[in-house]
Amino acid sequence: MYKISKENLNALYAAIAGGNDLFLPVKNAGQTNFGLWTESADVDIDTLKTVKSAKDIFFPQSESLYQVRRQDGKLEIQGEALREKPFVVFGIRGCDVKGMEVLDKVFLSDPVDGYYAARRQMGTIVSLACGRPETSCFCKVFGVDCAEPAGDVVTWLVGDTLYWEAKTKKGEALTEKLGNLLEKADTADVEKEKEKIHAIVERLPYSNLSLEKWGAAAADQNFDSPLWEQLYSPCLACGTCTFVCPTCQCYDIKDYTTSSGVQRYRCWDSCMYSDFTMMAHGNNRTSQMQRFRQRFMHKLAYFPANNNGMFSCVGCGRCVDKCPSHLNIVKVIKAFEKEGQ
């Protein structure tokens, strides 16, 4: 294990950014989101949760897939280049790293998504343990240990010191590159920090949610529950929950007419939207209740049914914090938990 003092972090960022792009939590106009590091960036690793997760570094909110140009009576198709430049994501929390595992299941299964796969290959993940978990956090429910997140490198911020431990070959390579910026450290402080974090996690109000009613079998059991009709009614049909979510992965693909041809984009979509999965015959979900149900059934029933029981919620709690109507997955899980009693 290594360490570096907090006041030297800028030197660390600069060293990482040499030859790599470095993405990390940056404050802009009062809000912290992942952004590209520059010398003038207002880096903010103290805010526990970025508004959006780090998802869009690997799966951008909008990306061009290819362009079609008309030239001399012929069509020329030009694909977007796959990511070739290495990059580092620093300060990603345990829930969001787990979120990457969920995305991997979707994008790295056959047929592999080349754009995503290239970014995963080029990216090195430096995670950061959560010193001060929030009330809305419930990652423990989904098997995440926020005191010891996964990642190529794991870091802990204890007081004014950042502790650093490489976990994979990629992580070791990055550590080597940083040379003497990092100094050797013993693990005592980090062990104490982990204990402290675990004690806080036990006190979080949603740490012990029961998932007993969920999993593959819930696909049939919960679909027709009358609870959905009660749960959905204040839903505004906005896409806040899906866009701040580290695991929501649905997208739309659209063509745009440019002056000389066509550009094909893909962009995040939301099952909350009325045109989601719109096809020539219309939409297979015609009411907001059905759309609302889809989101939670996908995370808690359909995804586990297709992925050996793995849920596609990681308990980051962003939807809990951000829903304009204060609806969220915690309320859904609890409503079903109470139903059987």
């Binding site: 106009a29 508004v51 001060r132 204040p234 906005c238 939301s270």
Partner: protein, 319 residues
């Protein structure tokens, strides 16, 4: 709060209303959600406290399509939104029983700057305290009620309801700021500074559409930005479009109809002060056509849809 529940149960049991639209207890006291109550028993989960900021007037569009009357609780500022919807023929007054409920300023949990908030005491209606006590995972803190209030309450339109069937509860005077101060500050910026300011704010936008969907003035059955028929949807265009078009177009569309209820800014997950666009229009309308408050009454000619030969024509003569 108890008097609201008692009255709602009474109206429901007498059959005068078929349902009640109010706020339901959440998991915490600060996450109450808008809810329809169909039975007297279900009203045991009714809550009304400082965190019931959600404006229920827009839900009355859907409620109007259901059988029977809906009892709705409207705060003074919400009643302006309802009145405006009434004027636009989007709600059916015959199918609403409106209880104008008192308001002492509404709070936003996001304005309470402590980590790990477990419990907030002092937000109870009608006994709201001047100081909120906040129990957190990391100790007990205090914050003045006013510091945790939504922006709109600092520039409150007043304690009076503009439409109601009966009134319940007292309201408090919460005004301690000038409604147009921030607009004036931005007006004084150079064009470059203005552009930088708005770009910095709007680049945070994730096009979740929460501002549009919560907005009582955005009540089109099908929004042009949801149209799949042509390119107006602009779903993929995530940066330049939001920064330069989406919010501006929306502000233009609600100009003269926006009551300044502030819901857009309350719900924005990225904390963009969206109300400032609307307020700039309101300020200009006041200056050009005389003081006007959308939703204040049903008769007064609307400034942007009524023409007189003496109208100011701000667009003319600029070359």
């Amino acid at each position: 709060m108890q008097e609201l529940i008692v009255r709602a149960k009474e109206l429901l049991e007498k059959g005068e209303v078929a349902r009640v639209l109010g706020w339901k207890k959440g998991e915490q006291e600060y996450d109450a959600e808008p809810a329809f109550f169909e039975t007297a028993e279900s009203l045991d989960n009714f809550v009304y406290n400082g965190f019931c900021g959600a404006n229920l007037s827009k839900y009355m569009i859907e409620a109007g399509k259901k059988e029977g009357k809906t009892l709705v609780f409207l705060k003074p500022c919400d009643s302006y939104s309802y009145n405006q919807l009434l004027r636009e023929h989007r709600v059916d007054r015959e199918k609403a029983y409106i209880i104008g409920v008192g308001c002492k300023g509404k709070l936003a949990i996001s304005k309470i700057p402590f980590d790990g908030i477990l419990k907030v005491s002092g937000a109870q209606y009608p006994d709201a305290q001047e100081i909120l006590t906040v129990e957190t995972l990391y100790g007990t803190e205090t914050i003045p009620y006013k510091d945790a209030m939504l922006e709109r309450c600092h520039v409150c339109k007043g304690k009076d309801h503009v439409v109601y069937d009966e009134l319940l509860g007292e309201s408090a005077d919460t005004v301690d700021a000038d409604r147009f101060a921030e607009v004036e500050r931005i007006e004084k910026m150079s064009p470059e500074e203005k552009f930088a300011y708005f770009q910095s704010e709007l680049s945070k936008c994730i096009r979740c559409n929460a501002c549009r969907n919560v907005c009582p003035a955005c009540s089109c059955r099908k929004c042009v930005f949801d149209s799949t028929a042509f390119d107006s949807e602009q779903k993929a265009n995530t940066t330049s479009f939001e920064e330069k078009m989406f919010h501006i177009i929306r502000a233009f569309h609600v100009a003269g109809r926006c009551t300044d209820c502030g819901e857009c800014s309350r719900v924005c997950p990225q904390g963009i002060p969206l109300h400032l666009f609307n307020r700039k229009f309101i300020k200009d309308i006041n200056a050009l056509y005389g003081e006007y408050q959308a939703g204040s009454d049903l008769e007064c000619p609307a400034p942007l849809t009524s023409f007189t030969t003496t109208d100011a024509e701000p667009g003319v003569g600029r070359g």
